[in-house]
Symmetry: C2
Subunit: 143 residues, 2 copies
DNA sequence: TCTTAAATATGATTTTTATCATATTTTACT
DNA sequence: AGTAAAATATGATAAAAATCATATTTAAGA
């Protein structure tokens, strides 16, 4: 459903959502290990997310990655789109250009309502929401 | 959501469901073109599906691919699993080994019910069903 | 039985995705 | 100012997925 890059990005950003703040920056190596992702790979991804202002970073000693309170309002879908691009997630199951409810492909009606519902949730749910679930013990931080 | 291979497989098998029969076999090139898939690529996929007895074929002049009436009862999910393997579709969104409803990852509850519903439909819906939809004009054959 | 038309088997090439490595830049601290 | 610790930029390598190519096998029909 998602590329590895997107999975890794979500894991890392969630880790930051729970463990970081402007006063508590986290180095790449201290993110990569607990979320179980290759260090160099996640570094590249985090750098890209930082450039797109989805996460924050500072260089040098005492530096690292973190989320501002604004960035805690980021929607899950924004992360997906930042990493994989808009198309990947929203295209037709069979990748037909002109598949839509008026001209549905053969699988369209099997998934349309559910896919929409999932989409809505991903567009609505913020990192702050997910952090809260984790802190309440309703879900787990991935490793 | 699906690999290209799976998308192509579904397109091709649907094309056979609508256009072929034991008396009406179809050659690779006459499948590849209308469904808009590279000929050599779809050839490989169809050969694999034939080996797994999801479609039928005969060699030589007047040969080609076709579906038996038994094979029209194949479920969409069986095609997906035949091409991509069982894992790919049924794994956790974040690919966590031990994600489940008792120990859910952070995205689990965002998609669980809907993913299940989609799964059920894919496991239930046969090629014959989809053919009927197409012939009634309720959906379109992909190109 | 010979020729031809089809799938089959096999594998080579290309493209994309994932992973690894390193030199450069920035910043905190002495 | 100088040193060290961090991200950043860039690119190399490896692995997987997608695509292309071709020799072999099988079967129909002359």
């Amino acid at each position: 459903m998602f590329s590895n890059s997107t999975k890794y990005a979500i894991k890392a950003v969630l880790y930051l959502a729970v463990h970081s703040s402007e006063e508590q920056k986290i180095m790449i190596k201290d993110i990569a290990e607990p979320i179980n992702v290759p260090k160099h790979y996640i570094a590249k991804i985090l750098q890209a997310l930082s450039k797109k202002d989805i996460i924050s970073s500072t260089k040098g000693p005492k530096g690292g990655f973190y989320l501002t309170s604004d960035q805690l309002q980021t929607k899950v879908m924004q992360i997906i789109e930042a990493v994989d691009g808009e198309e990947r997630f929203n295209s037709c199951l069979l990748s037909l250009e002109k598949c839509n409810s008026d001209n549905p492909c053969s699988l369209h009606h099997l998934v349309f309502d559910e896919k929409n519902k999932i989409n809505e949730r991903l567009k609505m749910t913020t990192l702050k929401d997910l952090r809260q679930h984790i802190m309440r013990g309703e879900s787990i931080l991935p490793l």
